[in-house]
């Protein structure tokens, strides 16, 4: 079939090597042109993300393009370790590789969804620059389909993968829509900011930042469009908050269980959610036992992330099986198409459609 992939990823190369091989969208047109000329490719697509740069090429049958493709990489950046970091796949293995990448099975975070968008952009860019053809058109569209299928049919993308997104997911389990919920930040450090940004993407209501040094709080408040106040405003601000993110460097808890009890009375029992990412902890752990109070510290959140990841990994086997089937089917289709026969590609749960190379583009 003469489909070849050459590339490197986070599995084979460290970041400092990868970043020299990243190709941005403006550079794409020129890079693709070079690829076609240098490698003599009939069709080419370039996938470049922060975690991988890969070249997908359909060349002449019978010719080996591996050497020219490796040379292409060498032209981009000269480094002694480069060649050993490159891997290649051909034919059916190449199809399988692309499907695995699209499904998120080759990502740093198993099942992540960003890669799907990245594959789509890479394909669209290549299409705009005219470097795609009948085989790559069907291949990439099929890859996007497979990527979606694997995510719906297995639980490979289930469960948040970062502490920040877990914190937000839990907040949504408690409060439902976070629209107009009040967020309180204790401490103005980086961790707080990251978690706060996660929350803000949900259109929360007022955000208040308390810090020992008010200037830092003010700076963060301006960035996040919120309000700042000194740390001793805690007693006034805590009752008004629904979500509290704690990251001060206090040595002992600044929010005692007793304070939380009082606050809950003022709040009339409305749920209160603490994300305590400080070490040592800012909130007395026994506060979690108070009715309608939910206290999650960094260990709890990390544990949930780990559980989610473990669950995702447990899905890998199913996902691989699915991909095996789908890539095998695709390979048969391509082989048949190249030989002039028509074959069928299953679309979803329905009956197989009569595939035609030109139709799917």
């Amino acid at each position: 079939m003469s489909l070849v992939i050459v590339g490197l990823s986070h599995r084979t190369a460290p970041i400092d090597l990868r970043e020299h091989l990243a190709i941005t969208a403006p550079q794409m047109g020129e890079a693709l042109g070079r690829l076609v000329k240098v490698a003599g490719a009939r069709e080419a697509v370039l996938l470049s993300t922060c975690n991988r740069t890969e070249v997908y090429v359909r060349g002449d049958p019978g010719t080996s393009h591996e050497a020219s493709l490796r040379a292409f990489f060498g032209d981009l950046y000269k480094h002694p370790g480069l060649m050993s970091a490159l891997y290649q796949h051909e034919g059916a293995a190449a199809v399988r590789h692309l499907f695995r990448v699209a499904a998120g099975l080759d990502s740093m975070v198993i099942g992540e969804t960003e890669i799907l968008g990245q594959v789509k952009s890479a394909y669209q860019l290549a299409h705009t620059h005219g470097s795609t053809g009948k085989i790559t058109n069907v291949l990439f569209q099929r890859a996007l389909f497979v990527g979606k299928q694997v995510r719906t049919r297995t639980n490979i993308s289930e469960g948040s993968s970062s502490v920040g997104s877990v914190a937000v997911t839990l907040a949504e389990r408690i409060f439902g829509s976070l629209h107009n919920r009040h967020v309180l930040l204790l401490g103005a450090g980086e961790m707080a900011e990251v978690t706060a940004r996660h929350l803000l993407s949900q259109k929360t209501g007022q955000i208040v930042i308390l810090n020992r040094t008010v200037e830092k709080a003010q700076a963060l408040a301006t960035m996040l469009n919120g309000r700042a106040a000194p740390l001793d405003a805690l007693h006034d601000e805590l009752p008004r908050a629904d979500v509290v993110i704690c990251s001060t460097s206090a040595e002992s808890p600044i929010v005692t269980a007793e304070l939380v009890q009082k606050v809950m009375k003022v709040r009339r029992g409305k749920s209160l959610y603490f994300v305590d990412i400080a070490v040592p902890r800012n909130v007395e752990p026994s506060a979690h036992d108070i009715d309608n109070v939910y206290l999650y510290n960094i260990d709890d959140l990390q544990r949930i992330v780990d559980e989610n990841m473990a669950r995702r990994r447990a899905e890998i086997e199913d996902a691989e099986g699915l991909i095996d089937g789908l890539s095998g089917e695709f390979h048969q289709w391509v082989t048949a198409a190249l030989e002039g026969r028509t074959a069928a590609l299953k679309h979803g749960l329905g009956a197989p459609e009569q595939g035609d190379p030109s139709r799917e583009s």
Binding site: L170, E172, R173, R268, G269, S271, N292, Y294, R303, I304
Partner: protein
């Protein structure tokens, strides 16, 4: 003819329950939608069966006030219908498909209780006390409030499950299939807020009926007393929520307890009272 429609209703309710359970397990949205249609079908066939029953019964002079909720079987059958309708209304207003998994066992249970009536399923001979237009007014109003409290109970259960998930710090996929905590809490409150005036109306209508039938508007008959106790429980819930500020777990427990009291007022009390209860005509 009536039995065919009743059987269709029973089947529809059972199918709905299975589909709701299936939705919980497989998370296929289509199942919950079809389950909703099954409930609709059940409600419509059920209403038809009740109409047919009424027409069949009202041929005798003693049955000129007859309504199809005059004995154990009919009462539970009608209660099922009211629960199903109330569920459909709340589903339409709030759209919580998972609610069906909690409510459908309730109306399935009441329907089964009807069918396995210890007193038979024939049209009853109305005792003189029940030969009144109040039967058509007081009982449905009470049942509407009872049905709402049944729903509040179901939502309360969902709340407690979700709360346990989140307190345990190990939320599983169950937590994601259930609605968020605050939404559930708000829903319980709204249901009880809506149902409390209706319950009050039902009790007052009962008093008006008693004034004509038994010579006094309130006699501390066990059924009357337990209706008052039900009223007090939900009064406590509302004061807790609005005045003192209890929310969440404690009020969810109250919604469970409240329904327990409702059940006792509905069924349990009949074993205490000979004046008000089904035993006053052996349910026949």
């Amino acid at each position: 003819m009536e039995q065919t429609f009743f059987g269709a209703a029973f089947t529809s309710y059972s199918v709905a329950m299975s589909l709701f359970f299936g939705y919980v397990i497989t998370r296929r949205e289509s199942l919950s939608r079809v389950a909703g249609y099954a409930v609709w079908t059940g409600v419509i066939t059920h209403i038809v069966s009740l109409v047919l029953r009424t027409l069949a019964a009202r041929v005798v002079e003693e049955h000129r006030f007859y309504v199809p909720w005059s004995n154990w079987f009919e009462s539970f059958s009608f209660f099922t219908l009211v629960i199903a309708i109330t569920f459909l209304i709340i589903e339409w207003r709030r759209g919580m498909p998972i609610l069906g998994a909690f409510v459908s066992p309730v109306f399935f249970a009441t329907m089964t209780t009807a069918v396995y009536s210890p007193f038979g399923t024939q049209i009853p001979l109305l005792a003189p006390a029940l030969q009144s237009y109040w039967m058509a007014i007081h009982v449905p109003v009470m049942f509407i409030s009872y049905a709402a409290f049944a729903l509040a109970f179901a939502v309360g259960l969902a709340y407690l499950i979700q709360e346990r998930q989140l307190k345990s710090k190990h939320p599983t996929s169950i937590s994601f299939r259930l609605p968020p905590l605050e939404d559930l809490d708000q829903l319980i409150y709204r249901i009880i807020r809506m149902a409390f005036p209706i319950l009050t109306l039902g009790v007052l209508l009962g008093a008006r009926w008693a004034y004509d039938a038994w010579g006094r508007y309130w006699g501390w008959d066990p059924k009357e007393t337990w209706a008052l106790i039900t009223w007090l429980i939900y009064l406590i819930y509302l004061h807790m929520r609005l005045v003192v500020g209890w929310r969440g777990r404690k009020t969810a427990y109250l919604s469970l307890l409240g329904f327990g009291v409702v059940l006792f007022t509905y069924v349990g009390v009949n074993y205490l009272s000979s004046l008000h209860g089904f035993l006053s005509n052996q349910g026949r």
